[in-house]
Symmetry: C2
Subunit: 91 residues, 2 copies
Amino acid sequence: MADLIVGRIVAVEEHPGARAPSYLLRLDLGPRGERHASVERGSYDAAELEGAQVVVDIGSDEALVVAARSHAAGLVLLRPDREVEDGTVVG
Amino acid sequence: MADLIVGRIVAVEEHPGARAPSYLLRLDLGPRGERHASVERGSYDAAELEGAQVVVDIGSDEALVVAARSHAAGLVLLRPDREVEDGTVVG
């Protein structure tokens, strides 16, 4: 079951063990602490991701970055279009 | 159960029947056609919403715009940070 909140990417590393070219992200979830999540690299530079707010599903053991899966553009992140508190609930 | 896709706001009207100040949106969901959805006005001007891509839950009878619910900023929309096809699946 999806349990969506806004998290902020605070660190980005290459994730060499993943099947597709991926980053390992450290996410600040505000009052819910920090979690790691792997995300496909898509067309994103690491520098572009650092500090960005994204949507995270914390409904399972592994935190998942929720993104659009475009045929043309590949993985495309979803971002709140105004700044919100890290950990803000999405619904 | 959430079933999330990207939709584009193609028309915005005041929604006088709603409990909170709201807009009635017409959403283009690409191959899934068009749906209407009501959304709280938050801090958005109608003009700012027209043409914007947002995240829509089509998992129930009524289409719902999925947004962050910030204590400080109120309703904050989520947008793909690159242009994607209307109707693109979110997951």
